[in-house]
Subunit: 458 residues, 2 copies
């Protein structure tokens, strides 16, 4: 079966494909906020119906959290397990959006047309590139060129609490030859990439409690301990002056990037100034003795993602707060052990607690880093297919983000993953005004059509 008519069909059906994506984007499936649980459920239903419209057998599967969507279609080798997620990040701060984040629209920009909406890029637009590629194959050839299992999650943006138990319980059904994950980006607008190393992640919240109630700083200031001061010190001391993370044993298991890889990365001519300049920055922060790409792709980090304490409304309230809290995440590389990092973080906090201040750690969850086996023939087949679609040849890249599912696929299903996606640095993932380039959506679907053909032949 040839991919060429499939590509033509994708071109012709783009308006209908867009309508479908817009319908999915209108569902505010924010997984981290319980107020949107019904919307998550609705997004899962929508996907089941859409997979059924391809001829797949598809089901919404309950979990203790948001449901999974599992679908099967096609015959023959290889058997591909496709993963995407239908949940999205919260949209706040809402006032920074130029339009309703759940009222998607096409907008003209300096890089061409974009689809503007929460989830346009992360991950609804991306997952639909694969679904649309399948739809076009079936429309042209009556069937896919190989067997596909769809596995779509609704908790990726909230730590995937149901993922591991679900994979374990359904391992037989989900086992395949290789996994395809569409939740990553291109190297640049000309250069597609297959992500072959992923940082892991540990996320935790620390809640400090001191007095039994908020106090008047005029009456108690100078004598009662202020948990914001304690928290500030704890967080300030997470890094030393050179940008290294200070947790004890934090760098255990962090591999040095091999010289030949560093060389390859140097050849990419990464423009740190331009990368930072697009978001209003100029100076690379972090570990000063590492190259910018190393810091982004291959080094572990510690970042405070949120902090809150005391009075933060309009005006002023001279309060000495009873508590203060912060959300902290660590990106992990090599064989760094999330549990060991968690223990080191807890120790870092507890060593800095004065009398009368207690710490709670309510969430702690983590996943180790992953490195793919790029010697498998599927990697070269996919690389060649991508290189046909885009102006420049595809590269094997590292990525800073954490996609724990790839690690779980390896660990639980014994599956290697190919991470291929079409988002861009300026998509504003997790930010206001998220968008997905229309070209990413269109040529992304075309890329998958080529890859499906190539893998069926590989």
């Amino acid at each position: 079966m040839s991919a060429d008519p499939v590509l033509a069909r994708i071109d012709a059906d783009l308006p209908q494909a867009l309508d479908r994506l817009m319908a999915l984007l209108r569902i505010p499936s924010i997984s981290t906020d319980p107020a949107y649980a019904e919307a998550c459920d609705r997004a899962a239903d929508w996907l089941v119906a859409d997979l059924e419209s391809l001829g797949a057998t598809a089901e919404k599967r309950a979990t203790p959290g948001h449901p999974m969507v599992v679908g099967h279609i096609g015959e023959g080798a290889p058997h591909l397990l496709f993963y995407g997620h239908y949940d999205v990040q919260p949209a706040d701060p809402l006032e920074l959006w130029r339009r309703d984040p759940f009222d998607p629209a096409l907008e003209e920009t300096e890089h061409g047309e974009v689809i503007r909406a929460r989830g346009a890029s992360d991950d609804k637009g991306q997952l639909m590139t694969f679904v649309e590629a399948c739809r076009a194959w079936i429309a042209e050839h009556g069937a896919l060129p190989c067997r596909v299992t769809f596995f779509l999650e609704g908790e990726e943006e909230s730590g995937s609490p149901s993922l591991v138990p679900f994979l374990k319980e359904n391992a037989e059904e989900l086992k395949a030859d290789i996994a395809l994950i569409c939740d990553t980006g291109m190297y640049d607008r000309q250069t597609p990439s297959i992500t072959t190393q992923l940082r892991g992640m540990l996320r935790e919240e620390v809640v400090l409690r001191a007095a039994s109630r908020d106090l008047h700083s005029g009456l108690y200031g100078g004598l009662a301990v202020n948990p914001i001061h304690v928290l500030a010190r704890i967080l300030a001391e997470l890094h030393d002056a050179s940008g290294r993370v200070t947790l004890e044993g934090f760098y255990d298991g962090v591999p040095e990037t091999p010289p030949e890889v560093l060389e390859q990365w140097a050849g990419l001519g990464f423009d740190a100034e331009g990368f930072l300049g697009r978001v209003g920055l100029s100076q690379p922060a972090g570990e000063q003795d590492r190259t910018p790409l190393e810091r982004l792709w291959a080094r572990p980090t510690a970042e405070v993602n949120g902090i809150e304490g005391g009075y933060t409304g309009a005006g002023f309230k001279t309060v000495l707060p009873a508590q203060a809290r912060a959300k902290v995440s660590f990106r992990l590389t090599g064989t760094q052990d999330p549990e060991a990092v968690h223990r080191a973080f807890v120790a870092h906090v507890e060593q800095r607690l004065p009398e009368d201040v207690t710490a709670e750690f309510p969430m702690g969850d983590g996943a180790p880093a992953t490195r793919m086996d790029i010697d498998r023939p599927e990697f070269e087949a996919a690389r060649a297919a991508l290189s046909q679609e885009w102006p420049k040849p595809a590269v094997f890249a590292g990525v800073g983000g954490s996609i724990p599912v790839a690690g779980y696929f390896k660990e639980i299903l014994g599956l290697e993953s190919m991470l291929i996606g079409f988002s861009h640095d300026d998509d504003g993932l997790h930010s206001p005004n998220e968008k997905y380039d229309l070209a990413s959506f269109h040529k992304g679907a075309r890329s998958w059509a080529r890859i499906l053909g190539a893998l069926a032949r590989a």
Copy 2:
């Protein structure tokens, strides 16, 4: 004219006096939040009507912010300027209140009946003790024993932006022989006090801005500067390990408390453990080489009153925020100059800003500390009058809170102030479940009736 029938009248009319206070407490006059501007206006109208019911000429006077209430009544010497404020702190966190903060009620507690509501103690209950004392004098004797000017502010909890211009423009009308300010507390439930030293205050917000938008920590972490980290370091370094404030020149103008005063304070037998124990703490924080009362009453402080940055909602969002902010207040003593402290704070921040992070200081306002001239005969007259009402003799005390109006009265009107009030440490000023002891309200009014008589004779 004798105070005795006035005291009996106060006892007899207590239910009606409580009804009036409850009506005032029902008005949510939160000055710091623009959403409550109409309520502030309504509280001013209520007070004008109440002063008129005494026979005073009273007016609501417009300012660029919330209105002032000015009233005049009585003849003869001395001429007393009475100050209180009708605005209240925000009520949040609302979920910690056991009842609607603006639906006042009497409640039975281990210390007897209390009036539970936002503003019950700070400052509506307090200001009404004076108004009710005047009402009882007029009811018994047909007139006050001396001349009184009422001056009631509506911006005390939001930094009094209109106060200084208003005092300057209306100096002739407001000039009197001495000012009475009812916004302070008793030393304990048996011991009334006249506050004779007040810490000043500098309040500022610092807003750090880095990237032009929130970033995905997986894509930018390790390379883009995180303003929460920068803010944490700035705030952590406000104090050294011994609890001293590190701002350059911060202690310039801070007087040592005279040995005889320290001795007098030692005689009070202040129970730091009990004081802290009531709010769930055990260990005095702050300057370790100072006595607890010195830290509370006579030493300058730096406190972070609020901090906010990044994602603080439910769940987790791995965002690298574009900005982070904190509200910081400094309590000042002696001749510490608020403007010099402000400059030192700005310098402290700016010295710690890395490339790409900018700081804004949107609010900065301050007032110096004040020390009263206790050799004036009114102080001894008031002390004796208070000592008649309460089980233990009145003391001259310091106070940790800042009551800038006393400084302005001295500076602009040339007036000494007597700060007399009846609140308690456990009133929960600025906290959820604020209350005012019914005994404070009742015996407070009786105290003012005695003081009015004593000052008229002095």
